[in-house]
Point group: C2
Chain length 407, copies 2
């Protein structure tokens, strides 16, 4: 029993206490959870057996025998995959393995940001990035999106506004391919424009490409980093979406003058070596085939969720059919407060990400929400979306009719 008062010693400005974990909700549409059936269990067993027998003894040294950038065969695999899939030319020594892409975000933030500094990002963007910036005391300005991602005319407007105030943003954070949450894919021409604009305003680009492998329609454009001739882009990727979220393996790509400063901020004595070894061993044999299969599963689930939304919400739910990724970004009528909807729905077993948490301007996201379709099975998706429509109707009178039934 605690009688000592630690709280009197706590640092000011701590986030609120975490809640106890009580298991996953019945309809789990939040976060980046993925398809359990697609975890390549037997191939992971084979990979771990082979790599441990061959190199297990190197676990006795921090960083294996690869140094602080991470397991060399994994960096070599990533260099090859980035060349083939994203058009990026980089050496294995320009890649840093991180403990998930979240550590990559933390490192890039730590490189650039002091309290009061400004970041420019997509108006709807990854909630984890927004909370990180908030905790660091950084400011951020959102740029409007259209179906091709961040709008360049709006970016120029934002940068001009900032310039007029004497603010030079530290970097433009963008998720150009399968944008989180909107699912948009920025075309190559716009990527080139983004590079030109960023250069002319003297700001760096941080390209978060964590979802880019999960594209099942259309062609994956070259990464912005691939089009970058000035070394202005820091690039980040991950295996959380393409292999398994609980494996915490992300990576950063940057030129050495930048990387050597990032590396000095990575004081964790290395990211988990067994996961690096197993992912390298597995991915170098199976990655392309696995991702192709996974994308077909995700496509089926995306279709199931889109169909359920249409059936249950009808015209009340606006969304674009995803061409990749694991989520759908939905706009509901203005009267729906999705933060409250989320609270009520969670109590009834349906978990969703409210739009306010995924929006640079929380008010603009108030009637929007993100649903992840990757974890649930299609029947569960249909049930969960139906339950959500019922709750939304009860709380906000929307949808008025659904599944051809007046509610």
């Amino acid at each position: 029993m605690t009688t000592f008062d630690h709280a009197a010693l706590f640092r000011a400005g701590l986030p609120p206490a975490a809640a106890r974990f009580n298991g996953f909700p019945r309809y789990n549409f939040i976060g980046g959870h993925n398809d359990a059936g697609s975890v390549p269990v037997e191939a992971l067993v084979e990979a771990s057996t082979n790599v441990l027998r061959r190199e297990g003894r190197t676990l006795a040294t921090y960083g294996l025998e690869s140094g602080p950038l991470g397991y060399k065969p994994l960096r070599a695999f990533i260099a090859g995959a980035l060349k083939a899939r994203a058009g990026i030319q980089c050496a294995a020594d320009e890649i840093l393995i991180t403990s998930g892409s979240l550590q990559a975000l933390d490192l890039v933030n730590a490189l650039f940001l002091a309290p009061g500094d400004t970041v420019v990002l997509e108006g709807a963007t990854y909630g984890g990035t927004l909370t990180r910036l908030q905790r660091l005391g950084a400011r951020y300005v959102g740029v409007e999106l259209d179906r091709d991602g961040m709008r360049m005319d709006q970016l120029v407007r934002v940068l001009d506004d900032l310039k007029a105030k004497g603010v030079r943003p530290k970097f433009i954070y963008t998720i150009p391919t399968v944008q989180n949450p909107t699912g948009t894919v920025m075309p190559e021409a716009r990527r080139l424009e983004l590079l030109r604009i960023a250069a002319s305003y003297g700001t760096a680009i941080f390209e978060d490409d964590c979802y880019a492998d999960l594209l099942w329609e259309g062609t994956r454009p070259k990464a912005i980093r691939a089009l970058d001739t000035r070394g202005q882009v820091i690039y980040c990727g991950s295996f959380s979406k393409s292999i398994a979220p609980a494996l915490r393996i992300g990576y950063l790509v940057a030129d050495w003058p930048v990387m050597s400063r990032i590396l000095a901020l990575k004081t964790d004595a290395g990211s988990g070596a067994l996961e690096q070894m197993v992912v390298a061993e597995y991915a170098s044999r199976h990655f392309d085939a696995h991702v192709a299969e996974l994308n077909q599963v995700l496509k089926g689930k995306a279709e199931a969720m889109a169909a359920a939304l249409e059936e249950q919400f009808g015209a009340a739910a606006e969304f674009a059919r995803p061409s990749g990724g694991i989520f759908i970004w939905i706009t509901l009528p203005k009267q729906v407060d999705t933060t409250r909807l989320g609270q009520v729905a969670l109590a009834e077993g349906v978990a969703l990400n409210p739009g306010a948490e995924w929006s640079a301007d929380a008010a603009a996201g108030r009637h929007r929400l993100r649903l992840c379709f990757a974890n649930a099975e299609p029947a569960n998706i249909r049930e969960g979306v139906a339950r959500l429509a019922e709750i939304c109707h009860r709380e906000f009178g929307v949808p008025k009719r659904s599944a051809n039934v007046a509610r």
Copy 2:
């Protein structure tokens, strides 16, 4: 080729750039590298095969099915091991799995410390703790050690001094069992005294017990956390020293009112799950036997290093024969500057940790050094220590005679 000037955008106060990794030195006596032959490769293969086949699909969700505190079977194993080995009674929900004990340090620091805050610690202590505190802008005050660890009369003196200046330290950081770097083991009576003193000055205790499993002589005392009736101790442990350093699995123990605040600071979406699963599966079958065997290997290497030091340095090197752990803390004559010795030696293939980096008062550590004996084989230890003695003689005239040869 980089032409964009990122450096103009970097945050002020960054650490210097990291150097490129060029492989390990021939005589690798730094850090916490361990014995390669003791990595239980076949048992890890078996563990990974079993746990992946049984639960591999749970990798599809962040946190597996265990929530943010970490893989439940691993927390259950740790709870049992802490009870049996350290006398600690705790529930699995009072244990947080971290990405190595370094993340545990980061989290506890983030819980308590703002720039200017003060920590009290052993006068010779883990260098990674000192650099972390420096980077956070925290202050620290060292307390003198004797053969039983931190001296309580000196602790009271330090706390009185601080109190007179109106400073209430946030916590006392101590490594009571196989202290890093001195190897001392604090007896139970002194632990009880430490608890009383800390309570009366209103300061918390952070007990770093990362080396405590590696004791081959004498009895392991109860942890300070085990003797704590007020919930005043936050406890940290690790598998890096007992299983393998490259596996990044550490843990914190704290009461829920403290743990729930720590957990809110852990924004990494979980520590690596495969490593947690494999360590849990392996450790629950083999931990006790493995540690007993490892300790015999380490004891042999400690004896090899102690013998080499006596042979090569004679009376010039003062040190206590280790009763556990992986390092020896050595005091050389005052004229030896071990920071310079370390630079010269590294260029000749011998890596050591200079005492200044392991000392709260850098000047007091100037003629001291830490050598790790766990990684090198005995023949390599003998050669490396002989080479070090030669270099030290050449640079500082010490040792005057060694191996019965006048130099």
